[in-house]
Symmetry: C2
Subunit: 321 residues, 2 copies
């Protein structure tokens, strides 16, 4: 059976695997998908390429491109996802990252490089860097300590029990005009799921993003994570996620918060708890909450990894809209 696709304009904002999950879930239902992705990543293969070539980070772009790929050539998606496991100087690099880097070298333009990579993968939709400015993420902890760089915040070498008090980009950078345009023209804007401080908020810190999200007539949906993350969101409940994102987004901007209410099996959970991660309690009441509507549903994927199920996410969002 072919699903009749909606031509509503959907913009997904985020980074990391979250964008991949939500785009994968939306693909069967929506025909007009745009991903706006964070440019804060500075670790691993991406970090090396940023440092050595002075380019914007390709990693999150790559994941979004693969999610939107409509090529019949499965080899191409495999090629983009391939990570070198050996080779002096090659080990650890993602081939897709190298591809985007080379396209940037040839075109001398990161956005054009992303578009060319999209052509190779025959993507259906668009992937837009949230900014074309080169900035680093800086977190200020509750004890006043400053942590420089997304990776150092993401994989804490500092005391991960300390809360993040404030997070900002240095230097300040402005929104990519194409990202702003996509938000202004969107019917729906989806934020998340994803690491709160290292994948989602870095998008909102870009100058002009908050304003665009306030101004647009699009419905704004926040997809709350299913698990907390050590060093970022220790002991956070759903209400904490919603409160913090609203701090950076502005009050009364979100129309929906979507919360998983299915607790994962204890035997799966225990592996996460060992690493300082825990289930996000769905502590908000369902239904209207001032301007915002809270939706609670089983969004869990089956299997050992505790993650959103792309199919359940896709269906739910289709239903909301």
């Amino acid at each position: 059976m072919t699903i009749k696709k909606s031509n509503k304009k959907i913009v997904v904002i985020g980074g990391g695997t979250g964008v991949f999950t939500v785009l994968t879930g939306l693909k069967p239902y929506f025909d007009n998908l745009t991903a706006i992705v964070t440019m804060a990543d500075d670790g691993g293969s991406t970090g090396i390429l940023r440092e050595e070539f002075g380019i914007l980070p390709p990693g999150d772009i790559r994941r979004a491109l693969i999610a939107l790929s409509a090529t019949n050539d499965k080899m191409l998606a495999q090629l983009f996802s391939y990570r070198f496991e050996r080779g002096l100087g090659l080990a650890g690099h993602s081939f897709g990252n190298l591809l985007i880097t080379v396209l940037e070298r040839i075109t001398k333009n990161f956005e054009e490089a992303v578009n060319e990579a999209g052509k190779i993968l025959s993507i259906k939709g668009r992937v837009i860097p949230v900014t074309l400015g080169n900035a680093r993420l800086v977190a200020e902890l509750e004890n006043g300590q400053k942590i420089m760089g997304e990776t150092n915040i993401d994989i804490p070498k500092h005391d991960g029990n300390l809360r993040i008090k404030n997070i900002f980009l240095r230097p300040a950078v402005q929104v990519n005009p194409n990202a702003k345009k996509a938000i202004m023209e969107a019917d729906i804007v989806i934020i998340g799921p994803g690491d709160l401080y290292t994948s989602l908020i870095p998008n909102l810190l870009v100058g002009g993003m908050k304003e665009a999200l306030k101004k647009t007539e699009a419905k704004k949906i926040y997809l709350v994570n299913v698990m907390t993350k050590f060093g970022e969101t220790n002991n956070f409940k759903a209400s904490d996620f919603v409160r913090i994102i609203s701090d950076y987004l502005g009050k009364n901007v979100l129309d929906y918060a979507v919360i998983n209410n299915k607790k994962p099996p204890l035997k799966n959970l225990s592996l996460y708890v060992k690493e300082g991660s825990d289930f996000v309690e769905p502590d908000l009441e369902g239904g209207r909450n001032k301007k915002m509507t809270i939706i609670k549903s089983d969004l869990l994927r089956s299997g050992k990894l505790i993650r959103h199920d792309p199919k359940k996410l896709g269906k739910l969002i289709k239903m909301i809209i």
Copy 2:
């Protein structure tokens, strides 16, 4: 004006830039082109990938693929040709080589990887590794010294004034059945141009190649180089090239030898002479020479680099056939 293309089956045997030149020249006239390329290269980016990944050498394959590419996307050809100029561990690598390496990792099959790379570039024609066996080239000099590895022969660290007495592959490897099949079915087989001992003869050393070239009913054309190469073909005249290739190919196998008879301008030549390279004197008489026909013609490209002009080559071959 559209040229009506011949559907004669043409097989080009060689390596290096020579294959690129001749394929580029033939493309406007012939619809059915196959390149059989040497697997002896072990230098530069190719050498590193061979060593670190244990794959067959991708460099000559890459050049042939680019020559046969029929994609309208100019970016793709640029991408395949791109060479990293910086990046610790990346500098010197050809992106196309990395691409072929990754495809080999994914498919676990070098020939399939070459075909997949061909699909990405939308090549018109085929590129076939002469062997799927992994062997190194060994040269024995006139003083008995043995030089191991194609690069060490190609860029002599030994006394380049010493002649190569004998050259062989170690271990012995057998012809790729697809290469043999292409030769048996061909109407025309073209050998060269290219470095005699490091790009052409390594193909003929592969077990079964000599026999296939003797057996096939295809017309065999040898394109003699325009310049000698220091350490390989010092002071060689056209007759020396023909003699040596016949030593490895067998007597009375060649149907044509095509020789450039246009001497390059002295000011261009002097740069080459400094590096031990010189003009190949067209010392053979034109016309029939036992079984073989000698064709002499101006095949020189204009410009500082003394090379075959692909257009002149293409036209001449079209005329012969």
